[in-house]
């Protein structure tokens, strides 16, 4: 058998192989998320043209993102235009809550998807059309793993952890905390009732992200929220 192509002809002097070279190798050398990152770049430019500050809010389910947003939106009413993109797998429940604050909002349902991507934000922006100069809050799908990988074109990533979740969460989910520009430690009004060490949690966050800032807040009681508002829009 021919050892070159296994075509069944006796081995020996070269013979013609009508099937030619079997395969061709094509070099790609490109980032896997190139398409997402390209779209994120578009979003970033679109937002910059309109002087819109987009914040990507990420956390596990139940950390109090929507409650934090409700209070934040009420604070900015009359001070600065705001708009919200709500990401959830299903339902418009969160968008309904945000709408009751009087803020423009659009719900993105990812279905089986566990995170928002730049294409979803692009579509949401063209429908929502936030006003120039606005702060745009993007509430990502509740998940401490997947959303960390997808650039949306935001100005900053804000990770929210609540004191009911466990002090060591930054070490358990290092990718998310490594990607954060700001970590909000929420529900500090519950500190007397839970075993949570705020300082140690902040230390763990800095272990995976040495320059990250942490702010303890209570979205229901209001404690620490001024620091968050100042971070969003310095006086």
């Amino acid at each position: 058998m021919c050892v070159t192509c296994g075509c069944g002809r006796p081995d020996g002097p070269a013979h013609h192989h009508p099937h030619g070279p079997l395969t061709e190798t094509i070099t790609l050398e490109q980032r896997i998320l190139a398409k997402n990152d390209h779209l994120a770049g578009h979003n970033r430019a679109w937002l910059a043209e309109r002087r819109i500050t987009a914040l990507n809010l990420m956390s596990s389910p139940g950390s109090g993102k929507t409650t934090l947003l409700e209070r934040t939106l009420r604070h900015f009413r009359g001070r600065r235009p705001v708009a919200v993109v709500e990401g959830d797998q299903e339902t418009t429940l969160d968008a309904d809550r945000i709408r009751r604050t009087g803020s423009p909002v659009i719900q993105v349902n990812t279905g089986a998807g566990c995170h928002l991507d730049a294409g979803m934000l692009h579509d949401a922006l063209s429908t929502l059309d936030p006003p120039a100069g606005a702060v745009l809050f993007v509430e990502n799908v509740g998940n401490l793993v997947c959303p960390a990988m997808f650039d949306l074109g935001e100005a900053a990533k804000v990770v929210i952890i609540s004191v009911t979740e466990g002090t060591d969460k930054p070490l358990k989910y290092p990718h998310m905390f490594a990607a954060a520009d700001l970590v909000l430690i929420n529900k500090i009004d519950l500190l007397p009732y839970v075993d949570f060490d705020t300082d140690r949690c902040a230390e763990y966050a800095r272990a995976v992200n040495p320059t990250v800032r942490t702010l303890p807040v209570s979205a229901t009681g209001g404690a620490g929220m001024d620091g968050w508002y100042d971070w969003i829009a310095p006086a």
Binding site: P21, L22, T23, E24, T25, I26, T27, L28, E29, Q30, R31, I32, L33, A34, K35, N36, G113, C114, H115, D117, V145, C146, A148, M149, F150, L171, P174, H175, F177, A178, A207, V208, P210
Partner: protein, 109 residues
Amino acid sequence: MHEFAITQSVVDAACERAAGRRVRSVRVRVGALTAVVPEAMRFCFDLVSEGTSLEGARLDIDQRPGIGLCRTCGRTVSLDDHVLLCHCGSADLAVVSGRELEIVSMEVG
């Protein structure tokens, strides 16, 4: 399961480039410090490639180790996780390997 979306991106990029030709194999480079689990990627690959020109193709994964370069003492440090810390005590490290997430090449024909 972000590996699903990641793998979908690999299949989309390869299909686009293959322009209808049959793809035999795809090679990707995945760093140890990315949140991508190679086994999960393989699992997704068969699902995502079904019905495309990559159906039945082989997925080759080059795994890259996490390596940091200490900006304080100049030593090269092996990194197992996101806690960037040199033996000298410095946390000022540049990651030189481990964050790759790339499509290297593919075989068509």
